[in-house]
Each structure stands twice: as structure tokens, then as C-alpha cells.
């Protein structure tokens, strides 16, 4: 009788323990599946590179600086001339999910030729170079170009893509 009672007690304890193990394993599996399938794709790096490339093409194509780039009118109509639309209607309460800054320098003297172009949300610039998970992605590119009169230039382009809600969990 004693032995039978002990076995029943032991079996009940083991059953509870068994379900506890099942819950732990199930919890871990659910967490891992949620991790893999819940995490969004982060495409902001390639997006900022494409944006930088489009801006660069707007400044210089075929090896020569595009005409009108050094005029003040270009600064004012930059988005229109470069076929860019920085609105993001899919981010309802956004102050802007992009930022573009472009500057042209004399290649020999490194002097700033025209005033820098700044479009988009300038607050995003603070996130560049900072450590952290939910920060905007920045892309900084420089290239050499000449105009038709053979004057040489250095063009710096900074592009920033925020869109944290749709790219980072």
C-alpha cells in the first residue's frame, strides 16, 4: 500500500513537471517563430543608397556637371528638377522620413561654390553616427566632376532615410 501511494504521488509530481517543461519549450518555440516572422525587412540602407544615386545623377551625368546646377534657381527647385517626392503618406504623423543635403566644392581649393541644398526633415541628421537600434540610416557619398569649361568640383551628398516603424521592430 505504501509503495503504491508513493508511486501515485510521484506520478502526479512528474506530470506537473512535464507540463512545466512543455510550457517552457512551447514558449521558446513561439518566441523564436515570432522573432523570425515578426521582424520586418530593413531596406533603408539600399533605399538611402538609391536616393544618393538619384541625387548624384541629378548633379552630374556622363562625367560632366549638369547645366544649371550652380544657379540659385536649382536650389529652390531642386526636388522638382531631380524628380523627387519626399512625402510619406504611409507614415501618418511624420515630420518627414527623408533628408537630403548636397554641397558643391571647388576641387582645388575646397571652397564651397554654391549654398548647400537641404531638403526634408533636418532633425534626422542628429541620428547619424549615433549608436542605437531605432535610428535613421545615413549614407554619405562624395564624387569628383568637371563642367564643360573643365573646371573641377567635389560634390558631397548626404541622404538619410528614417522609416523606423516599418523597418525595425
Amino acid at each position: 500500500m505504501i509503495i503504491n501511494k508513493n508511486k501515485k504521488g510521484a506520478e502526479k509530481t512528474i506530470s506537473v513537471y512535464w507540463f512545466a517543461i512543455l510550457v517552457i519549450v512551447a514558449g521558446a518555440v513561439i518566441y523564436m517563430v515570432s522573432l523570425v516572422y515578426g521582424q520586418p525587412y530593413d531596406v533603408r540602407k539600399i533605399e538611402s543608397e538609391i536616393l544618393a544615386s538619384n541625387v548624384a545623377d541629378c548633379f552630374s551625368k556622363g562625367g560632366y556637371l549638369n547645366e544649371g546646377v550652380l544657379t540659385s534657381n536649382f536650389n529652390q527647385t531642386f526636388l522638382e528638377k531631380c524628380n523627387l517626392n519626399l512625402d510619406s503618406p504611409d507614415f501618418s504623423q511624420s515630420q518627414g522620413e527623408y533628408y537630403i543635403e548636397a554641397s558643391i566644392y571647388d576641387f582645388e581649393t575646397n571652397a564651397l561654390i554654391a549654398s548647400s541644398i537641404k531638403e526634408g526633415n533636418p532633425n534626422l541628421k542628429i541620428g547619424c553616427g549615433a549608436e542605437g537600434n531605432k535610428l535613421p540610416v545615413c549614407s554619405e557619398k562624395s564624387f569628383y566632376s568637371i563642367d564643360r569649361e573643365q573646371k573641377s568640383y567635389k560634390i558631397n551628398i548626404l541622404t538619410i532615410v528614417n522609416k523606423v516603424e516599418k523597418n525595425v521592430q
Partner: protein, 136 residues
């Protein structure tokens, strides 16, 4: 003898309940995993972002054929009209494979984009990139 028969009956019921609970628990787990892995929201996100990036890097005038066979299959399973999976409104791409849900992603290239299902194979979507305010 009588006492032995009674004890055997108790053990059997206990074991059966134990097994059933295990099966129920594992079934719930498997259903969760299958639901998550077959979820169309991942495919919606994938194509919305892919199409937005394609439009961003495209120039007018371009025609791009994008194979969306897996998305079309999922939409067909959900009895959706496969000709209306991808919609472009302004500079926002929306991919919707079911009655509920859908994923939107904006692009920055200021171009006119039209999209339709390639009826020749029903596996690809065609993107036509034109200049803004173009009637082509």
C-alpha cells in the same frame, strides 16, 4: 483480485487524460507555427518594399516585369481578385493579398507608375514607369 482490477482502471484513465492534454498542447503549438509561417503579411511586406525600391531606381520610360507567383497563389487561396493585388496611389505602393490587411510603402521617385497583371502568364505584374504628368 478485485482490488487489482480497480487499480488498473485508475491508471488507464490518468494516462489517457495525460496523453490528450499533451496532444492538445502540441496541436495548439503546431497551429500557431503553421499560421505564422503561412501568413500572407510577410509576402505583402516583401513585395511592397521590393516594388517601391524598383520604382525608386527606375527611370522613365521603363517597363518592368516582376514575378509574383507566390503572392498570386496566396491571393487565389484567399479568393482575391489577382488583377488587383498591387495598387499605386500617388507615391505609395499597396500590396493586398487578402480581404483584410495589406501593406503600404512609399517611394521617393516622382514618376507616374501604372501597374497591371500580365495576362499572358498570370504570374507576373507589369510596372510601367513614365514621367510625371505624362499621358503615355
Amino acid at each position: 483480485m478485485k482490488s487489482i482490477i480497480g487499480k488498473r482502471g485508475d491508471i488507464l484513465v490518468g494516462d489517457v487524460i495525460f496523453l490528450v492534454l499533451n496532444l492538445v498542447f502540441l496541436s495548439i503549438l503546431v497551429i500557431f507555427i503553421v499560421t505564422k509561417t503561412n501568413d500572407s503579411s510577410i509576402v505583402e511586406e516583401k513585395y511592397a518594399k521590393q516594388i517601391a525600391l524598383i520604382i525608386d531606381s527606375a527611370k522613365p520610360v521603363m517597363r518592368i516585369n516582376l514575378n509574383m507567383e507566390d503572392a498570386i497563389d496566396k491571393a487565389q487561396d484567399a479568393n482575391q481578385n489577382i488583377a488587383e493585388l498591387v495598387k499605386i496611389n500617388g507615391n505609395v505602393v499597396t500590396v493586398k493579398l487578402g480581404e483584410k490587411g495589406g501593406y503600404s510603402y512609399s517611394f521617393f521617385n516622382n514618376v507616374n507608375v501604372s501597374t497591371y497583371l500580365d495576362n499572358s502568364n498570370n504570374k507576373e505584374y507589369v510596372l510601367i514607369i513614365n514621367e510625371k504628368n505624362s499621358t503615355k
